[in-house]
Amino acid sequence: MSGEEWADMTVYPDVDPDRAGPAPLLHRLSAAIGSVPDDAWRQADWERMVAAATGAAGSAE
């Protein structure tokens, strides 16, 4: 299978991870893109961001 065929959506995501070929890497690639830990902010920092959004914009009305 060529790389172009591999990357084509017609062979993904319905690939069998146990099948020979590039499927394992595709799954790792997919997992790596989708794996983002939700530890960017402490809760207090997040709450400040939300407050800034609503405060900066004033009332929703």
């Binding site: 989708g34 961001m49 609503t54 929703a60």
Partner: protein, 193 residues
């Protein structure tokens, strides 16, 4: 009505949206919190670094709060929110475009060496590096697909592009990632640098 946080946890997105439209900031905090992880994931993957992602998230929150008054519910709230998120992230990318950046999507017209690519260990860092080299509009499509597990139709709805364009962008993004995560041309040829 003044609801406690624990009460708000049981309220649907739709009801929270209604409350937000009356200026209920507690409802907005609950609503935003529910989507926080996904909003951040999209912003991080599209912008490529935590600092720009934080700016994009802040912009997303602000635009969402401001826009809720006009939100009529013709689309799902999450779809509408993620459209704002992607646009905020892309705007951040554009704003920082003056930074030195790698070349864009300039794929060689060749058959890629799949086994050689498969031998590479894919790490989160290298994937982000590769994503950063994919043009933003292609990056946004594959990030929505992989981070939010959106269907192709949902990606199209969020980005406002036809289904065939979604398929093309995701396919092209994958091709680019394969090339970018593959060995250097010198390695591929087995030659010296």
């Amino acid at each position: 009505m003044d609801l406690t946080h624990s009460t708000l946890e049981r309220v649907s997105d739709t009801e929270l949206v209604s409350r937000c439209r009356t200026g209920d900031r507690e409802a907005f905090a609950e609503l935003a919190g529910r989507h926080r992880a996904k909003v951040y994931a999209v912003c991080l993957r599209v912008t490529g670094n935590p600092e720009d992602a934080a700016d994009a998230v802040q912009e997303t929150l602000t635009r969402t709060w401001r826009g809720l008054v006009g939100f009529r519910g013709t689309a799902r709230f999450s779809t509408w929110l993620y459209r704002i998120t992607v646009n905020a992230a892309l705007a951040e990318v554009a704003r920082r475009a003056a930074r030195p950046r790698p070349a864009g999507l300039d794929l060689p017209d060749e058959v890629y060496d799949v086994p050689a690519v498969a031998e590479r260990v894919v790490t989160t860092l290298s994937v982000q590096d590769a994503l950063d080299r994919v043009p933003p509009e292609f990056r946004a499509a594959i990030v929505l697909r992989e981070c939010l597990q959106c269907s192709y139709a949902e990606v199209g709805e969020i980005l406002g592009i036809p289904l065939n364009t979604v398929k093309s962008r995701i396919s092209r993004a994958r091709q680019a990632l394969l090339v970018l995560l593959g060995p250097e041309p010198e390695e591929r040829r087995g030659g010296r640098p």
